[in-house]
Subunit: 407 residues, 2 copies
């Protein structure tokens, strides 16, 4: 039997580690012959664009390099399978690819959109009497998938954000004049990553003094009041804000990130720039906003060893589950204990995750809606532990290089 | 005899290592009693705001932590001494501080503005017959000081920029559609840091495909032409651009970073956003711009060991030179050889550096003015070598924490 694996959605530092997990487990399983990588997610299965992974991952060092390489080695897609009734042809193309290459198992690593694909494809295959199994492996830096305690990729993003926020705190405090620094963190709907800046409190930092999440209504007036209060206590006030905080309709035209203007152009500025301008206008002090941008999802050089190890492990478990005959499932982490940290890897119907979002718990947000509680620290802390010993060359991390035909 | 040391200008990852160098050399020198830190650069000398460094740097671990802590532990200033003729009172206040605390040596760690202070203060002290000596230690991530081969702080910034640019290259190449990614790098007048992204070629990366520096005239037309040419060759085109590239007067209103609008507001967007909009308008493909912002000057977690070690060494040499009776000097690096890399630490009149800027060498820029030559790689490569073994706690780097009265 052959198997296929694909990656989907936004890049993370851990999605290649899950690929390594599937690959390693495949090598160790006698009944598995070829291990195919599907190029650009499910699109590769539709278009029959597969690559023989054994031909490009050839050594133990290759596997190590892949583990420390951010982004999706096999490419990605944002493609969502149509309903079978609307477009059976797409499903038939996938089945053709499966048959052509004698693929008995398809592992899909991705977020809640990808789990929708796992649901639809596994149902279709069962419907036509195929015994091909489809199992999902979660990933997303947003940590917004239901059922699972956390998602692979989140821990590395949180570690980067915490380390970088701490460095920005140092940077922001050099001058003698009062200042406000606003750090914009990813998270369209869910505030986990912005909230994780509370981790710095575990190392004695007082900042970020204010944290704003999309889970709460945002009031510019309350924000300015909050900043004024903090400025009375601290010379250099540091604010962390989720990109997904909802801005008022009036006064914030042109600032919501990701949105497009009437010409279809992406707005140039996000929430951070909006708050920067607000502080400049209303308080008039030195103010700066910093967008952590894609660095928060791809800074493998400071990834979390816990995250990378878990991502590999959950990839291995996914293939084992499929070999056991499971289909239409997503693997997930069940947290047994914060301290000592222990998780087990379990399985749920992918339908319990597909297209659903988990929000940052309301009970971990302070009544003032501008900070998170210590309970959140206990939750986040285990996820950023440990450093991967990154292989360097010429003073720079070494990345696994895709074969030329994929660049 | 007592000594004083101060830090000035924009933060870097290495300026605290130079402080450690001065401090260590002070501890080792029998004739030196107290080692004072002047708070917020020369301002602390004027206002008599000094701190006894031995009371806050108390252990070998403290010194290690300070070496791995970015930004300026003693605070900073942008204050430039007035000419003595215009304001003798400022000089008299400094002399009073020197006398009150029996300070015989003042070491100033900073950029070309700070060397202006070294020149003026040392001349004044000689003029009044004082034997207090003033010696400068260079620092700046811009690498734009004359005389010295390179500046402490630059190597760490270049290492961060190279590692991060490589991760952005991975991130930018996941989707199947053509795209342009623009990385905006610091450097108001001098392009060294943006140019250093060429280092990735040493590890086999083809990107950044285009590099634009302030040393060359910038033409939007030529830029669009360059991007089109690269898009014909690569699916994901990556561009590095100095923030200091001069934009045309027409069509770029509101984009030059650091500039202020008629209301005194800082413009919200820089060169990267301008180029992003230009590509969106003229080519219409997927495009993203990324500002590396203050992270490029404060990301100590991936600092260059060569840089940090050299920064400490040049700090020690500065104190030794002052003990030898030197004044009005700046220490600098003379490169003996690229391979094996060897530098000696020499001394020049601070007047040879004060207020002057070094530009990226024209002969290292390609005739097309959109890339740099391999000679630049040989120059940059030794400066980013080696990693500091960062002390971590709770999965995050540990920073030296200033005493409470300084926060």
């Amino acid at each position: 039997m052959n198997i296929a694996v694909a990656q989907s959605g936004g890049p993370t530092c851990a999605i290649n580690a899950s690929l390594v997990g599937v690959f390693k487990q495949g090598l160790l399983t006698g009944e598995i012959d070829a291990i195919f990588g599907s190029i650009n997610g499910i699109e590769g299965m539709i278009e029959d664009e597969l690559i023989n992974l054994k031909s490009i991952i050839r050594t133990n060092e290759d596997m190590e390099l892949l583990r420390q390489t951010p982004s999706t080695m096999l490419g990605s897609c944002r493609y969502k399978l149509p309903a079978f009734e609307d477009d059976p042809a797409v499903y038939e193309k996938i089945v053709k690819t499966l048959e052509t290459h004698r693929i008995g198992i398809f592992i899909y690593i991705g977020g809640n959109d990808s789990m929708d694909t796992v649901v639809k494809l596994s149902r279709y295959l069962s419907h036509i009497g195929s015994d091909v199994r489809v199992v999902g492996v979660p990933k997303t830096i947003d940590n917004d998938l239901p059922v699972t305690d956390h998602t692979p990729g989140f821990g590395s993003a949180a570690k980067y954000v915490a380390a970088t926020a701490q460095e920005i705190i140092r940077d922001s405090s050099v001058y003698s004049i009062p200042s406000v620094t606003i750090i914009e963190v990813m998270g369209r709907h869910s505030g986990f990553l912005a909230a994780s800046t509370c981790l710095l409190r575990a190392n004695g930092e007082e900042a970020p003094h204010l944290i704003y999440l999309p889970e709460c209504e945002f009031s510019p007036e309350a924000f300015i009041e909050d900043v004024r209060k903090e400025m009375a206590k601290h010379k250099a006030v540091v604010v962390a804000v989720s990109e997904g905080v909802t801005l008022p309709e009036e006064g914030a035209e042109g600032y919501q990130s990701g949105a497009t203007d009437v010409f279809g152009h992406k707005y140039l500025s996000g929430v951070g720039k909006y708050l920067e301008r607000l502080v400049a206008d209303r308080i008039g002090c030195k103010v700066r906003s910093i967008e952590l941008n894609v660095m928060q999802r791809c800074s493998s050089h400071i990834c979390s060893k816990t995250d990378i190890d878990e991502a590999e492990r959950i990839g291995r478990h996914a293939l084992r589950a499929a070999l056991d005959g499971q289909t239409g499932k997503m693997m997930y982490f069940h947290r047994v204990s914060d301290m000592p940290y222990a998780v087990s890897i379990e399985m749920t119907d992918a339908a319990n995750v597909a297209n659903l979002e988990k929000m940052f718990p309301k009970e971990w947000i302070t009544p003032e809606r501008n900070q998170v509680t210590d309970a959140a620290i206990s939750y986040f802390l285990p996820l950023i532990q440990g450093e991967v010993d990154i292989l360097m060359k010429n003073g720079m991390p070494v990345h696994f290089q895709r074969p030329l035909q994929m660049r």
